[in-house]
Symmetry: C2
Subunit: 369 residues, 2 copies
Amino acid sequence: MTIPAVRTFDNHTPLVDTELLPGRGTGVNAAHRMYEHLIGIWATGVIEAAHDLGAFTALISGPATASELSSKLGTDLRATRVLLDGLAAYDVVERSRAADGQAVYTLPPEMHDIFAPEGLYSLVGKIRHDRNVAWSAWRNLATNVRTGARNSDGSQQLNQISEEDYTSLVRGINFWAPPIAATLATALREQGWTDGTGRTLLDVGCGTGIYSQLLLQEFSGLNARALDAERIIPIANAQAHRLGVADRFNPEIVDFWADDWGTGVDVALFVNIFHLQTPESARELLLRSAKALTEDGVIAIADHIVDEDSTDGNTQNRFFRLFAASMLATGGGDAFTVHDYDQWLADAGLRRVALLDTPMHRLLLVKRA
Amino acid sequence: MTIPAVRTFDNHTPLVDTELLPGRGTGVNAAHRMYEHLIGIWATGVIEAAHDLGAFTALISGPATASELSSKLGTDLRATRVLLDGLAAYDVVERSRAADGQAVYTLPPEMHDIFAPEGLYSLVGKIRHDRNVAWSAWRNLATNVRTGARNSDGSQQLNQISEEDYTSLVRGINFWAPPIAATLATALREQGWTDGTGRTLLDVGCGTGIYSQLLLQEFSGLNARALDAERIIPIANAQAHRLGVADRFNPEIVDFWADDWGTGVDVALFVNIFHLQTPESARELLLRSAKALTEDGVIAIADHIVDEDSTDGNTQNRFFRLFAASMLATGGGDAFTVHDYDQWLADAGLRRVALLDTPMHRLLLVKRA
């Protein structure tokens, strides 16, 4: 197999020294590659175990030896050393030597926020959600491939994410926002935006509101209307205060399908909303957006949008297709293609004006046809 | 955190386009990196689901569309497409387009052997073992870090691998052998071996016998004595016939600790044996080897031997430390250091003569002191 040339990126932790293998295209090489994929579960397991034990909370307060940490956490000494060495293997902690030769483990400063529950870009919500849902869902993915994630009466299974899990998860994916918000801000400046005075952003399904809030920081004259369910709005409100933009962040409890969205919207923003739609509901969202939009307004859709025309091995497409598998595992959602979106846009009297790559999404910009 | 410079290798499937992120050392970057680690479970899940459904067996018989495969396997069409696209994202299958625009999925020839139960370098045994043991072990790693994988009476937990699992697993890790056997063969040639006539290899805990068998192929005059338990020997025997070396492959059912190992051994080989020992049993194995060895004989230990002196981010050390975490998860075993081995060797009147890297092991060569 000629594996398409992929760019390699910083995040990789190689566990197989492939330079010492025979040439490409042999079964032995392929087996080593598959083995490395099969042990992907180890990364999840090591990090989540450290989370479960409170190891990150302990390391946020300062570096520690295995012995100090096992006393603090009430864990077995040798096993704690093995766990810490495992974290160091993935560069989650730094491992250095004290004067007495003992290994000392340090959680680097930029990781504190990630493993603290209240960190702005904390992954704790994502980890909690995965502890509850992901292991069993992925362990039993074959079942949903058999049934198509349908119930025995043929109806589509709802996404397994419970309300509580969603509330947890919604805080755990804030980290996706900065590069997406930066890409959108650049695009809006190219459309003539300066400080956004007189402009209105409509954030449909705002979650924590992080996208709106970062844009409000970018554009000091912008106002945002942020729509979501009743149990989410307090989270968004608190975070708007934390980020100093509460005076221009206006949350509204809205039923997207029943309630009116108003008018005069300059940018209608949908982040991770479309992948949970059916083709019918996707069309409906676009029609409702079009009604709310000013004449030269923009719809901005950040989602897992597969571009069939991009090169083989495109990193975004890979992630989006696996995200679709993840949604299949937990029941519900899909990664739609550019082609799908173009058809829905045409049906709603809209047209695509840009498709921009971000690290783990694409940003689709839309105007009236 | 300054992540130590790591060499990147062929096996990586990047899922985050880190080039589009802000600079290193920011929390947002670190969160993207941790997220990519946390979704390591996806690779395991996608490949094992395809195995569970018989998708690989079907694709070994020829390329197929999602529609053809879902008919054959009795699975949901859309979900089958999502699964196949997930496999393509990890370069497990190739995805191309038929004339009618439908995606066609091909399992490349070098992958057939890997996913066929009877393939020489098949991973099926490893996958079966992981289905039985690994998911729950890794999901609950924190428990073993608390207890040190000890039973409530304080005794060390035995490795969870049942006899049946072991028999399955032992066939599933044959793929490790070729680069290790090649490295050992080169070292023996450097010691003056030509075709190995008159030489005897003792393979202690031979498993399928793959290491002996590859060395018998390399050295046409060599004879091997292969020691293992009664239920393993028939597997080794059958494979020796398959590889055409049965006439020089002599299996012996032996209790390593009670029975005599004989004498006149030129090479005593231990592959993945030492990581399951305690310091006491490791010393005992070395003493027994020394008694069996000719005056200029060699002990060859292929294992997960951590070299504390190698550079930060060394790929072998990373893998070995995670392998230790894997053994902690399933209860039993450790990755010992070069320092540990050197002490045991000194105690047994032996000395280290070489330490050689292979893709996923180190090969330690030992002689009389």
